[in-house]
């Protein structure tokens, strides 16, 4: 994940410009510009009703926008362009398998493309093998389990070897166990093949596993696009921060830089971070709570490679299922730490108590503040 990932890695395949979708006079999508680049998996991440699925259908030529232009490989296209649509295939939240066998389902798109039967059979067999359903061709598609059905849906799209794979919340109906397995499978398939994919989800963990780049969408507007680590670690607005479960990014200035490790002034604290930006740059700084470890304030400095060791005061403690989220502050700097419940009990944390926070320089995400929209 390189720092320039917020720009297109490859050439843009699909570009949407001035896309506006209105349903009954309500604006559902209003996106001035959206690019899907060759070879990337681009997640559109947003809460329910944010317009993310609509944006996918518009970019995937499945629905006409109220207004806007879509270009595919630099050529203007519309939903009526069958040739353009033939270059894409989609998997939706619900697999919506057709009546018939697994094989008939997977071969559906191939039949539409006039692929001869023998070739169809070979390709179906190969793709089923790939999604882990080898030999299920003759089974009834409507008697599969949820996970199997979603794999068939994926196979049905993959078998077409589409330039662009459209995935609309493909895992959200599945139970957590199957979801964990499938998200790995999806990630492997999407990266191994260098497939270009648009992946709509409301689950940031899922997005972090599968995506190269992420666009965060809310109320029909894309409010942040960039490399997955950058977007997920450096929320530029309170809303994004809240949505991805982080504090808003901190503002800082690089004081000096030695061999790629910079000393950044945040409030009145100094933090070490890995970055190539030169001294004097105003930056945004973020640390994921999972990367911050806590120790008793009086503890001796443990042997650790963590460059940053700060004595901080506990501001609040939130119970988050299996972990506790501890908000900390010192000298105008505010970070959070996510620790296990057991560790939390052991530290006997109380609001106002002092603790020692440790985190690596490589865990501190730094981005130039210039050119990043703020306060959205």
């Amino acid at each position: 994940m390189n720092a320039s990932a917020h720009r297109c890695g490859g050439a843009p395949i699909i570009t949407g410009e001035d896309i506006i979708v209105r349903y009954h006079r309500r604006t559902v999508v209003d996106v001035p510009r959206f690019q899907l680049c060759d070879g990337e998996t681009h997640a559109i991440l947003g809460p329910s009703g944010s317009g993310k699925s609509t944006l996918l259908r518009v970019l995937g030529l499945l629905e006409r926008p109220t207004r806007g232009r879509i270009t595919l490989d630099g050529r203007a296209v519309t939903a009526g362009d069958k040739g353009a649509r033939m270059m894409m295939a989609a998997v939706f939240q619900n697999p919506y398998l057709f009546k018939g066998t697994v094989s008939e389902n997977v071969a559906y798109g191939l039949r539409l493309r006039g692929v001869p039967k023998s070739e169809r059979d070979d390709r179906v067999a190969a793709v089923l093998e790939r999604v882990g359903l080898g030999g299920t061709q003759r089974q009834s598609a409507l008697r599969l389990s949820g996970g199997e059905a979603q794999r068939v849906a994926l196979a049905r799209a993959l078998v077409l070897e589409p330039r662009i794979l459209l995935l609309d919340e493909p895992l959200s109906y599945l139970d957590p166990l199957i979801k964990r397995r499938l998200v790995q499978d999806f990630s492997r398939i999407l990266s191994a093949d260098g497939v270009t994919a648009l992946y709509v989800t409301h689950d940031q963990d899922e997005a972090m596993v599968v995506a190269d780049r992420v666009s965060i969408i809310n109320d029909g507007a894309v409010i942040r696009t960039g490399g997955v680590d950058e977007v997920m670690t450096l929320p530029t607005s309170p809303w994004v921060a809240d949505f991805i479960g982080m504090d808003a990014a901190l503002s800082g200035t690089i004081l000096e830089s030695v061999e790629g490790i910079a000393e950044v002034l945040v409030g009145e604290e100094r933090v070490f971070a890995r970055t190539d930006l030169p001294p004097g740059t105003d930056v945004l700084v973020g640390i994921r709570p999972e990367d911050v470890m806590l120790f008793e304030a009086w503890a001796e400095t443990p042997v650790s490679s963590a460059r940053n060791q700060l004595l901080m005061r506990v501001e609040s403690i939130e119970h988050m299922g299996s972990t506790d989220r501890v908000s900390l502050h010192s000298n105008g700097m505010r970070i959070a730490s996510s620790i296990s419940r057991a560790a939390s009990r052991e530290l006997d944390l109380t609001v106002g108590a002092e603790v020692r926070a440790f985190f690596k320089a490589t865990s501190v995400w730094v981005q130039s503040a210039a050119g990043v929209p703020s306060g959205v």
């Binding site: 995937g60 619900n94 919506y96 066998t101």
Partner: protein, 244 residues
């Protein structure tokens, strides 16, 4: 009870008695019903698909009209067709004006009966198809489209998915046609050897007080309906292995 038993025995005797007039009536019934059904399907299935699968302004009104059409009183249909085709009707006048000669008579012929039957059964086929198609999720069509299906291919897939419901539509249409008497009597004229079908024959025998014969004919009609409906049901239920 004896009456019904003897009617049953009579119906068997009649059916296998080699009565040419009866076979002619049965044949005409099947021909009129078959042609009408095919035409009603040609109208009703595409129309039902479009109304069932699209969202457009005024759709609720269109559905209400179709549902009303499903309950059209056959006699009113017969009367309307009669008035349209009559020598003093508008079509006759129009034909005379346009072609400069008198229109060949359509009233009291088999085509007139078919017209009435198609009008009666098309809303039935449309309405039931509509309901069947509407029960197929719109996302399924979206899925097909996303795999490269054209509008027509989408429609074919939807009809396949809704196959059971559409067979029910065909059965409803057939049921409406084969049992119909009011309209065919009015526009067909119940002319022996020309436009007399099972239902009008039953009505005639009833009118003449030949209740036993009327009942026997009725049983034959029910038997024929049963055989055909059974065929529909078999088609409808085949491939159940792949149903949801």
């Amino acid at each position: 009870m004896e009456v019904f038993w003897s009617a049953f025995v009579d119906s068997i005797k009649l059916l296998f008695g080699g009565d040419a007039a009866l076979y002619e009536i049965i044949g005409l019934s099947l021909r009129v019903s078959g042609i009408s059904l095919v035409l009603a399907m040609c109208i009703g299935v595409p129309l039902g698909y479009v109304i069932g699968s699209r969202r457009f302004p005024g759709r609720g009104l269109v559905v209400a009209i179709v549902n009303t059409g499903m309950g059209l009183p056959p006699v009113v249909v017969g009367l309307t067709v009669y008035m349209l085709l009559s020598r003093s009707g508008p079509i006759w006048d129009l034909y005379l004006t346009l072609m400069g000669q008198e229109m060949p008579r359509v009233l009291y012929t088999v085509p007139a009966m078919i017209v009435a039957q198609v009008i009666i059964s098309s809303p039935l086929v449309t309405g039931v198809t509509l309901a069947a198609v509407a029960s197929v999720p719109a996302e399924l069509r979206l899925q097909a489209r996303s795999l490269g299906a054209s509008k027509l291919q989408e429609a074919i897939l939807t009809v396949k998915e809704a196959r059971r419901g559409i067979m029910a539509a065909v059965a409803a249409g057939f049921g409406g046609i084969i049992s119909e008497v009011g309209a065919v009597n009015m526009v067909g004229g119940n002319i022996a050897g020309k436009t007399r079908v099972m239902t009008t024959a039953i009505q005639l025998e009833t009118g003449q007080g030949n209740f036993g014969l009327a009942l026997a004919l009725g049983l034959i009609l029910i038997g024929i309906s049963f055989v055909i409906m059974n065929g529909f049901t078999r088609v409808q239920q085949s491939g159940g292995r792949y149903e949801r």
